[in-house]
């Protein structure tokens, strides 16, 4: 089972992970990314490159399935305006055993940060706003899976 989605709507983490738990494995791992309220942030807007985003995420799911013995992958990324506490992204993986599920989950979120065309714009309570700068530590985290 492989489900890759880009959507404006919120998602239900429990329902998505339950689909992975229904597969005949013994391990489900997940990562949920949330909007932080750093420095008085009131809104985070996610922009993406329609068409390319879908294929970039599908390629990542394929790469994870080729590298680990996975029974299922769920990859959901929201776009549009979001608020502190909202879920932005969910990565879920199912496998027979924990190592594959945990490693594939970490691989997917690390690579998603550098290999998929999304951009974040922050808006603050004081009226300021700006685009989030890419972080070097995200490149380093993604590079640890190069081999």
């Amino acid at each position: 089972m492989r489900d890759v989605r880009i959507q404006t709507d919120a998602f239900d983490t429990g329902a998505e992970l339950a689909r992975l738990e229904n597969l005949p494995g013994g391990a489900v791992a997940s990562f949920t990314g949330l909007v932080r309220d750093d420095n008085g942030l009131i809104e985070l807007e996610l922009e993406h490159y329609p068409g390319m985003t879908e294929s970039a995420l599908a390629d990542l799911a394929d790469a994870a399935c080729a590298r680990w013995p996975l029974l299922g992958v769920v990859l959901i990324h929201r776009v549009g305006p979001m608020h502190p506490g909202d879920r932005i992204v969910l990565v879920g993986t199912a496998s027979k055993h924990r190592t594959a599920a945990l490693e594939a989950c970490a691989f997917l979120i690390d690579r998603l940060k550098t290999d998929a065309p999304f951009w974040k714009r922050e808006r603050f309570a004081n009226g300021q706003s700006g685009w989030v700068e890419a972080k070097e530590k995200d490149d380093q985290a993604a590079a640890r899976w190069d081999k």
Binding site: L46, Y49, P117, W119
Partner: protein
């Protein structure tokens, strides 16, 4: 002899690049003239289009590109691409 028309070349912009230029998509007017250029050379040439273009393309080290929806370096030759995209480093997740 009739020269076949060059396929159109779209240039897409995202995030602050789109904001500075003031649009999200342009058709490259002289597509057949630029196909031998690198993306970096196209941006240099295209920077004169408007003050917004000048500002957006002023720091190529802050720009990233995709050629037909695949990430590429700015040194890549445009060739037979149908769609180029210019944007800041990505920040999803």
């Amino acid at each position: 002899m009739i020269t076949p028309a060059s396929p159109p070349l779209s240039i897409l912009y995202f995030a602050w690049v789109a904001e500075q230029i003031g649009c999200r998509q342009e058709q490259c007017a002289a597509a057949d003239e630029v196909r031998g250029l690198t993306i970096a050379a196209l941006l240099e040439r295209h920077a004169k289009t408007s003050p917004g273009h000048t500002a957006a393309f002023a720091r190529p080290d802050r720009l990233r590109a995709a050629r037909d929806q695949i990430f590429v370096s700015l040194d890549t030759i445009i060739g037979d691409a149908r769609e180029l995209a210019i944007f800041p480093p990505v920040t999803g997740g």
